[in-house]
Symmetry: C2
Subunit: 372 residues, 2 copies
């Protein structure tokens, strides 16, 4: 059988204050079209449907519509687990009725050992869970996520039908994966990484949690990544979803085209606002990395004339002033404050001539201050 593997929709997510609803709807439309074009037998969503446990009404409407489109309009079976960003009880609303239509939504460990069989494949659905939930379910004092997943998989294997292929759908941090800056780290209090060897009994592991599909380079243990770029660090990331064929034993990454891209512009200020500046769709999310050393008055406002959605401006040659503590500044001699400030802004120290002038001016100021 053939399925599409997506995850981490994070409906309601914002990018530096910008709503991503349009981008998320567009990416969803592409996923739906890919599912239909490739005649998949199911769509798998490996957690983090919503960005927050208490999703906004708008986000809930969006999520409800997406699931209804795939399952009710397109008649596609759906296999969905909750992620660490979802409220499991809220997401679970409707689940018993969904199952009547082949939309299997799992938010607790209760049924994780019982596979959902579609065609020649058994799917084991493992939602995000905490260690206490694992201890209650297993009746074992497991101490790490790795141990918990290991014990769960050992029990799943007892239900393996050897004539079928086996797929695990899960939401956790797999050992050796690389992060992006838009994820919420999980590895606190024993929720550490899950080691890969114990996952290799599956023909495919459809993971959610990490936001780029290249986070883990393993032939059959895959993150799908998010359908939309959620951070500047993902600017060069190719978003998409996996097309998995369990019968043929193939997996292909199908790219999605961003509606409004996230782009990094790294150049001198003059080049970015001059006649030959990059001509971008005005709705592009732009991170500007200025290579200049000097002070540029009102830089952000000027950049916004050319790139209305500047989401970040950094000075890559070290001129961004570092925040200083007031008390520290108060204890520092005026000339040292000036010297440090100049270095912060200009990226180089005062020359000896500049130092002389600065010392002379500060001397006069102090003399005025000391006068009665």
């Amino acid at each position: 059988m053939r399925f599409l593997h997506t995850a981490d929709w994070h409906l309601g997510k914002q990018l530096h204050g910008y709503s991503l609803v349009e981008e998320q709807e567009d990416a969803f439309n592409q996923i739906e079209q890919l599912a239909l074009q490739h005649h998949v037998d199911a769509v798998v969503v490996a957690g983090d449907i919503y960005d927050r446990g208490i999703a906004s009404e708008k986000s809930v409407q969006l999520g409800n519509q997406m699931f209804a489109r795939l399952n009710r309009d397109d008649h596609l079976p759906l296999l969905v687990v909750s992620g660490n960003h979802d409220s499991a009880p809220r997401l679970a609303t409707g689940a018993p009725w969904y199952a009547d239509q082949g939309f299997v939504l799992r938010t607790t460990l209760d049924d994780c050992l019982t596979p959902v069989t579609l065609g020649d494949t058994q799917f084991f659905l493992l939602p995000f869970f905490g260690l206490q939930a694992a201890r209650n379910f297993l009746g074992q004092p497991v101490k790490t996520m790795d141990e918990a997943v290991g014990q769960l998989i050992a029990r799943m294997r007892g239900n393996f039908d050897s004539t079928k292929h086996h797929v695990l759908v899960a939401h956790f941090f797999a050992s050796g994966s690389l992060r992006t800056e838009s994820e919420t780290p999980l590895e606190v209090g024993g929720l550490g990484p899950v080691s890969l060897p114990q996952l290799e009994c599956f023909d495919y592991v459809a993971l959610g949690h990490l936001h780029t599909h290249t986070a883990l380079r393993h032939p059959k243990i895959k993150y799908s990544g998010t359908p939309v770029k959620f951070s500047v660090g993902e600017a060069r990331d190719q978003k998409g979803c996996w097309l998995v064929d369990t019968t043929a034993g193939t997996r292909e990454f199908l790219p999605l085209t961003p509606l409004h891209d996230v782009v990094v512009l790294r150049d001198k200020f003059a080049a970015l606002v001059g006649p030959d500046h990059p001509h971008l769709d005005p709705e592009t999310f732009v991170a500007v990395q200025l290579t200049d050393k000097g002070i540029i008055p009102d830089a952000m406002n000027q950049l916004r004339q050319f790139y209305p959605r500047v989401i970040e401006m950094t000075r890559v040659n070290g001129v961004t002033p570092a925040p200083r503590k007031i008390k520290e500044v108060q204890r520092t001699a005026p000339l040292d404050v000036l010297t440090a400030y100049y270095e912060d802004v200009a990226g180089e120290p005062l020359s000896s001539v500049q130092q002389e002038i600065a010392a002379a001016v500060l001397g006069k100021v102090e003399a005025m201050h000391d006068a009665p």
Copy 2:
């Protein structure tokens, strides 16, 4: 056909800080049993399923379980509309799938003109709505709730099948109804009362919003009231739900028994804590109305020894001190402050002897204060 009419479950509601989850579960169990015993063909819930738009995870679990019990376990058709306390988009989650199983959940005006036919009866489901939603739906500049409902009913009548009975399920304030203290008033900005004559074209109107079934005394326009007492003002209220038989044209109020009652004890303090004090289930919610005039030190703590769930203590003979403004008190002569305070607490003025003593003491205090 025969149905049960309930409303205003307000899952998540608290009574003076006490969770009512147990009471709500117990009342639900009774409603379910009544539905089964009376072999009803449907259960109608006329809005305010949840107490808050953002219901707690626990409340959402409870609501999901209740609907699953009635619809999936008991195979009862459900007709549900959203109330002013519900978040319509959140409550709507799952609705398209519910409908496959005869659980019709309506949260917008979209389908309000299209009846749901069960046996010999057409049900029109009208969720709570704001005037702007009505204007958008009707394409008319309606100014009041009465006008909006009138226009909606006029259109519903166009879909009346004259061989059927007609029931309206709605959530609004019907003209001439009496309030209890646990409702959130709706009548602001044109959301005024809906007049009764225009509702009389229905064989039965199943209303939600007001919390007692006696709020409106009309033979066929009924509030069900809440299944649980939500305020001290409802202490003597009989909670229950309506059993409606459209074929026979009958309606019968079926009482529910409170798991833990709300009781008002009005007596002298000594009687309430003396050897012959009322012996109540310790989980009873008790509102104490003291008839004493004198000050009773530590009254609340003493009462809690006998009634662990005292939710309110009032002094019915006027001894509760009225709040005074600081500025007002500062402008008042000390003797007048004392006199007023004594009256507040004791419920009677200072006697002439008391006045003399008070004046003498205050005179000494003032003399001390004026001394250098």
